[in-house]
């Protein structure tokens, strides 16, 4: 038993190195692909090269005759046992939802869709035989791109009669949370400022490090699925709901998982096929995708066109915001596919006091890879739109972009504040975060340098971009999710097991895939229970171990899962108090609990929590009215989201001759409430920033007109590495605005960097060339796009901001009208 006095004063707030890192980094652990079971077979998928086609025949003879092939199966070979891929969030009652079979028998709707599976004794033999499966297709016209889909001339699913899936609307006048947008816009047209823009959120690929992998073992009492997933609990529920196997017969394990970013928040065709094949053959099977398959067939993210109208008075006080989104769902409505843009609905008003707001989202179906959550899910899109618009408004009014924000933001003494979207922000201090960011960034000096460069017409111009973001995270209050027609709740569960030797196992229903839960949760338990950090083991990701849980996404694990853990620990202490009072022969009222020990006030008598755990093991001496255990569990359903915020400042250099952009400085000051482990927070912020910056500058998934993914490898889908980024200046305010709705006072940080950074970067790029008459550059801001914007401004000689919206459907733009993807 470890002595409690060895424990440092407090664990919370310490830069603990992550205890899980050694095994994760060396790979000496149970990644799904490392799992090998006796008699296990391997699967390879046959995928459609066409975006839209009828399957006319599948000849499997040659493949079946290939060495060590055990079975070749197509959609026709399965009936209901294959189940279906579900959409858990129909956003409107009349949403048009195409049926989504994991392996359709008749028609494929995107390039990369699975039409047959080969099962063999080795992965290589399965792959070889997959090439021998002869599939004949009748190609159908494919619809690619939002604009084409909206015309309904070519249908992604002819039987639906339209590509328009659902229209979701929020209107502050109707909801009673604000006034009427149309009236405000009309007023502003005559006596104020109206800014109209179309912004495009390009399609992105989550590109997690570990490709998806699944193993299914149908032997034993429960059928076990190991999967590289973020959501073992939701998977178990969905498997039971769609394949007819009782939930009690299903065990799902997410072993160590190498990243997800929302990309593994999915119930995938591959998992469902592995499930069906293992059951059919009564043999364990494994499937691990190749990187090419991952880029093509794992869900994509973002892909919206935003049509925006911002109305303000002449001083730049915003009077209304109207948002219309067209969001590309791809070929099917994935698990929470339609809901992602809706999550953004509540965030377009951001940190501001807008009196009137209207949001419409039209979801459309196309013959492309289905889209779903990607880090930030809905909130980066919203933040991008509003933070770009606020910069445009500042330019229009002729004031500094920070000044225009301050004129509109919620002041720190105004919290709690109910927004025009109907959310109650509990706490925040935008003034403090902005002041610190500005100082650390050296804002005034960089502005001065910008002016100098402009004045001397330097080949390299400097731009400064601002993003003062907030987000709603910690998904989520279950009742709120219910009111949005989401198919599940947002609570979380935890239990604490006090082992006989005084060590502690805690079980969480969240499912880490790189976040560092084992370390952060151990710190929380160590402090709260008063035991050494090293004595706490965090268990997760196995439905046999953690029977209740809603997994990890939406920056929820700490703020929801951590809070459930705190409540479970408090119950342990309550139960232990009863036993302590019996053993110490003292009244419970005379006991103090500190540093893992009950002491009798005014005496030197005491008993450690570890001794009490041992006492429940021996059971030799305990009160009659006590159940012989101090273990406890708790389910926590948050009463509100939480609202981290921050001020991000970015300086970009633009080479006006080549269009090349280069980051000069990036400062962020995030207010995320209390911080459990600053090192982990820094990791989340750094990684998040890079992903957001990558959307601004590098990443874009492009399909050609036929629906083939052109950016199908990392040669064309550009992920940045450390060599492409700079050292970020990461700040936090000294006195954070703590979350008032959880006891730890924490706010989510998993998505913050991604949400905030994209507009900061694009604002900086645009700011660098705004004096040339440029007010927008489409993402990613490739050198070619920047150069063309500069060339066009020279040709037109325009120095005024054009009054109408900037069209984003320029002829020849990738993913829109034409196919070359060349950008022009």
């Amino acid at each position: 038993m470890t002595a409690t006095q060895d424990r440092p004063a407090t664990e919370i707030g310490k830069d603990r190195r992550r205890k899980e890192d050694q095994r994760l980094i060396t790979g000496r652990t149970r990644w799904t692909d490392n799992i090998t079971l006796p008699g296990m077979l391997h699967m390879a998928m046959v995928r459609s090269p066409f975006a839209h086609a009828t399957i006319t025949s599948i000849d499997t003879e040659a493949a079946k005759a290939s060495t060590n092939v055990v079975a070749v199966l197509s959609g026709k070979d399965f009936g209901d046992e294959l189940g279906v891929c579900i959409n858990a969030w129909p956003i409107t009652p009349d949403q048009k939802t195409p049926g989504h079979s994991p392996m359709p028998a008749d028609r494929v709707a995107f390039a990369g869709e699975i039409v047959a599976v080969v099962v063999a004794r080795t992965a290589a033999e399965a792959r070889d035989a997959a090439e021998l499966v002869d599939v004949e297709y009748d190609e159908l016209p494919a619809v690619v791109g939002i604009k084409k889909a909206l015309t309904d001339e070519v249908l992604a699913h002819p039987d639906l009669g339209t590509n328009k899936s659902a229209l979701w609307v929020f209107d502050s006048a109707e909801a009673g949370t604000g006034t009427d947008v149309e009236a405000a816009i009309a007023t502003a047209r005559t006596d104020g400022i109206v800014i109209e823009r179309d912004y495009r959120q390009q399609r992105l690929i989550p590109a997690f490090m570990e490709p998806r992998s699944v193993v299914v073992d149908p032997t034993g009492e429960q059928i076990t699925m190991w999967s590289a997933t973020q959501i073992p609990h939701i998977l178990r529920f969905a498997l039971a709901a769609t394949t007819g196997v009782p939930e009690s017969k299903i065990r799902v394990i997410a072993p160590d998982v190498g990243g997800g970013f929302g990309g593994k928040l999915q119930a995938t065709p591959e998992e469902w096929i592995a499930w069906a094949v293992a059951r059919r053959l009564s043999r364990p099977v494994k499937y691990t995708e190749t990187r090419s398959e991952s880029l093509m067939a794992a869900h994509h993210g973002r892909d919206q066109v935003q049509t925006l109208t911002l109305a303000a008075d002449k001083e730049g006080k915003v009077t209304a915001l109207r948002v219309h989104l067209d969001a590309d769902l791809g070929a099917y409505i994935a698990l929470v596919g339609g809901g992602v843009p809706v999550l953004g609905a509540f965030m377009f008003n951001a940190i501001y006091k807008f009196p009137a707001y209207r949001f419409e989202c039209q979801t459309v179906l196309t013959n492309t890879t289905f889209t779903d959550a990607y880090r930030g899910a809905g909130r980066p899109e919203a933040t991008y739109a509003i933070e770009r618009l606020m910069d445009e408004l500042a330019a229009e009014v002729g004031v500094d972009p920070l000044e225009i924000r301050e004129r509109n933001w919620i002041k720190h003494e105004e919290f709690p504040f109910t927004t025009v979207a109907g959310l109650e922000y509990d706490s925040g201090n935008y003034e403090a975060a902005t002041a610190l960011a500005k100082e650390s960034f050296g804002y005034d000096a960089l502005r001065a340098e910008q002016k100098e460069r402009r004045d001397r017409g330097d080949r390299v111009q400097l731009g400064i971009g601002v993003s003062t973001f907030t987000e709603m995270c910690g998904l989520a209050p279950s009742r709120v999710l219910g009111s949005l027609d989401y198919g599940a709740g947002g609570w979380e569960h935890a239990s604490v097991r006090m082992l006989a030797t005084g060590k502690v196992e805690v079980v969480t229903g969240t499912s880490a895939h790189g976040q560092g839960h084992e370390t952060a949760f151990s710190q929380i338990v160590a402090d709260r229970l008063g035991v050494p950090f090293e004595d706490v083991e965090v268990l997760h990701g196995d439905t046999q171990v953690a029977h209740r849980g809603l997994d990890t996404y939406g920056s929820r694990s700490l703020v929801v899962g951590g809070e459930a853990l705190v409540q479970a620990v408090d119950k342990v202490i309550d139960k232990a108090r009863h036993l302590a009072s019996h053993l110490l022969e003292a009244s419970q009222d005379d006991l103090d609990y500190a540093d893992g020990k009950f002491t009798v006030r005014g005496t030197d008598q005491g008993v450690a929590i570890q001794e009490l755990a041992t006492a429940t093991f021996t059971g030799h001496n305990y009160p009659d009215d006590m159940e012989l255990s101090i273990d406890a569990e708790a389910t926590y359903d948050p009463v509100n989201f939480n609202y981290p915020h921050g001020t991000h400042l970015c300086a970009m250099e633009v080479d006006t001759e080549t269009g090349a952009v280069k980051m000069r400085k990036y400062t962020c000051c995030d207010d995320i409430g209390n911080i459990i482990n600053p090192l982990i927070v820094a990791g989340q912020v750094h990684g998040g920033l890079v992903q957001g910056i990558a959307q601004a500058l590098w990443e874009e998934a492009v399909h050609d007109e036929a629906g083939t993914l052109v950016s199908g490898s990392f040669v064309d889908y550009l992920l940045p590495t450390a060599a492409d980024t700079i050292s970020f200046d990461v700040q936090h305010t000294q006195e954070p605005s703590v979350c008032t709705t959880n006891t730890l006072g924490t706010k989510g940080v998993g998505e913050a960097g991604t949400i905030a950074s994209t507009p900061a970067v694009v604002n900086a790029v645009v700011d660098a060339v705004r004096h040339l008459g440029i007010n927008d550059i489409q993402m990613p801001c490739t050198p070619e796009r920047v150069w063309r914007a500069i060339e066009d401004s020279r040709a037109g000689g325009a120095t005024e901001t054009p009054p109408d919206a900037m069209p984003h459907f320029a002829e020849g733009e990738a993913n829109q009208d034409s196919t070359d993807g060349a950008g022009q």
């Binding site: 992965a123 190749t290 874009e700 590495t721 022009q824």
Partner: protein, 281 residues
Amino acid sequence: MIPVQFDYLAPTSVEEALAALGQHGDDAKILAGGQSLLPVLRMRLNAPEVVIDLGGISSLRGIRDDGDALVIGAMTTHHDVRDDSLVKEHALLLSKAAAEVADSQIRHRGTFGGALAHADPAGDLGAPALALGAQFVIAGPGGSRTVDAADFFVDLFETAIGDDEILTEVRIPKHTGWGAHYEKFVRVAHQWPIVAVAATVRGSIDEARVGLTNMGSTPLRATATEQALAGASATEDGVREASQLAAEGTNPPSDLNGAADYRQHLARVLTGRAVLKAAGA
């Protein structure tokens, strides 16, 4: 990412390798550093029955002084080309270009000969080799022949090397004392060039050689620019007119990284920069 099954041969001499090539013909593929071949095999874009690994032939590795030329063995890695003192002294441009190939891991595996034999128009070594007037020594069943750079690069991924031949070494005429710069334009660090310019100059500026990467289906030489640079002064104004000629006769691709007209613009801008840096200006 599992290649189709193949047999693996590891000859220890060029003769042995040629004999194996002769025996298997079309069904065989030469393996050098594998940095281009392995991705092709793993993506199943090619499925040779036999892979002949040159890694065991020590005579193909290394750099030696041969009077008025340097001789670089085909199996010399990018890393070694970059760091070699003979190369730095007599063909600085090659050292500079090799330093820009991919990343450190790939430079330790990928080879000079492999990269040139692969003849990817976006490869970083073709344009410098062309600019320096390299000569390619190719061994075949009937002995060795030497091919000039101008005739070596035939088309996209196509060279003068026959199916039954092996590139054994590359002779680089010495450019002792010439200044050099390789200006590579990329969006992320580990990328193949969108456009790159290889420039080497004698004096400032008595004579210049300029090669262009990814401006056509083979590496190209900016001959008009070279001519205009002879006798020009190494100043922005001095090279501007010459670099404006850099895109003449080029036929660059259009892809996600840029359309042809943008690449031509880049070629002009980057040529000016490369020449100035090569001249130490």
